[in-house]
């Protein structure tokens, strides 16, 4: 790694001030599992690194029925994977968190880093999106909240300004009779990056689909919601034919590229297969 100035601010204000002072090129450091790889092997050489490890207020997974779930940005994904509330109520998120890298990676990788890094394959992004998660952001200009699905504007790029920090994520309480799932396709079972990923949430209402979320990863420059599929599902009674239709619409929404993880045709094919399978699983879970 090239040299850089290192800061470990003790408060959010201090962190934001440092970011503002250093401007372009300064990098926030959380778990380091993306940043250090980029600094070692991908030619990223920030002149300054601001570590979040001593900043208070970024921890904790809290849930209450009225306000929903809040996850601090610095929470490692291993803690999200093994949390009872996420496992039961936000299953897709526990699944996404549980599939990141290895045990070692998951102990270090934070959810804030996973989102801010903005990989279209980020495994917590589709799960957050299907629960309509909102990111809490603080910057020199004050605080704001942005839905996770609107955070990304390209591969590796977010709408955050250089002085902004994500402090946490808020996920509304899912309606009763909700089932969710997250799956990805990778050649290896683990230690791999999604070629295609699918997050689904179905919330049933009197046997019909009250709310549907279909979010795809790694098949477009950012994660995307397959809105046509969601619309087609909403208000309908779940049937095989309906799910097949929704899978087709999801396929149509995807715009994958060909790269080392798979060709565009392969990925589009998988979007169909996996969306259908995930819909079946989400339904089963919603009915449980």
């Amino acid at each position: 790694m090239h040299r850089f100035e290192y800061y470990a601010p003790a408060s959010l204000d201090e962190a934001v001030a440092l970011l503002k002072e250093h401007g372009d090129g300064v990098k926030l450091l959380a778990g380091g599992t993306d940043l250090l790889v980029q600094m070692k092997e991908a030619g990223l050489h920030p002149p300054a690194v601001v570590s979040l490890h001593a900043v208070p207020g970024l921890d904790g997974i809290e849930f209450d029925e009225a306000s929903g779930l809040r996850i601090g940005a610095r929470v490692d994904v291993a803690s999200i994977e093994s949390n009872d509330v996420t496992e039961q109520r936000y299953t897709a998120l526990a699944e996404g968190a549980g599939i990141v890298g290895s045990i070692q990676t998951r102990n270090m990788a934070t959810i804030g880093g996973n989102i801010a890094n903005a990989a279209p394959s980020a495994d917590t992004a589709p799960p957050l999106a299907v629960f309509d998660a909102v990111a809490e952001i603080i910057g020199a200009g004050g605080q704001r909240e942005v839905p996770v699905i609107e955070l990304f504007d390209g591969p590796g790029s977010t709408i955050l300004t250089t002085d902004e920090v994500i402090t946490g994520f808020k996920l509304p309480t899912p309606p009763a009779n909700t089932g969710s799932v997250y799956q990805r396709h990778t050649p290896r079972k683990i230690m791999d990056i999604a070629a295609v990923s699918v997050g689904i949430r179905l919330s049933l209402d009197n046997g019909k689909i009250g709310e549907a979320r279909v979010c795809l990863g790694a098949v477009a420059p950012t994660i995307i919601r397959a809105s046509d599929a969601e619309e087609a599902l909403t208000g309908q009674a779940p049937t095989d034919a309906l799910f097949a239709k929704a899978a087709e619409l999801a396929q149509a929404a995807s715009s994958p590229i060909s790269d080392v993880r798979g060709s565009a045709e392969f990925r589009r094919h998988l979007v169909g297969v996996m969306t259908k399978r995930c819909l079946d699983i989400a339904l089963e879970r919603a009915q449980d």
């Binding site: 790694m1 090239h2 040299r3 850089f4 100035e5 290192y6 470990a8 450091l29 778990g31 380091g32 599992t33 250090l36 790889v37 070692k40 092997e41 690194v49 570590s51 490890h53 291993a78 890298g101 290895s102 045990i103 070692q104 990676t105 102990n107 270090m108 079972k189 683990i190 230690m191």
Partner: protein, 154 residues
Amino acid sequence: MAKLEVHYTINGRKHEAYIEPNLTLLDVVRDDLRLTGSKEGCGTGDCGACTMIVDGKLVTACLMLAPQADGAEITTIEGVAENGTLHPVQQAFLDKGAVQCGFCIPGMILAGKVLLDQNPKPNDYEIREAIAGNLCRCTGYTKIVEAIAAAAEA
């Protein structure tokens, strides 16, 4: 670039180093503190050869910036045996013929130890899950899985 002082408790003993911040915990432990049992196989979190236990958690030290671990309690492979007695996982690796070149072994043993600390009777699949972040190119894993299972019985 300002140098800074870091303090670690490694295998129960206090260490300090005066370092530049662009080093990883692995660099400092291997090069400055001369505990070379932890290995670097990739430097990017993919192989697990650099595995250490930091504040109770298994991590890849090649991706942990040295100053971030300031103040941490760290266990490396050198601290697994106690008073010259091998840990059951270490002993089982020898007994089962699970060691070939040895380069992955420090990380494997730490991963196996943390697993057994948390789950004293893991099944085969749980063992494989626990070491999935540790690549071994020599053994094909079968004897490593057997060794960890045997250590659980010990």
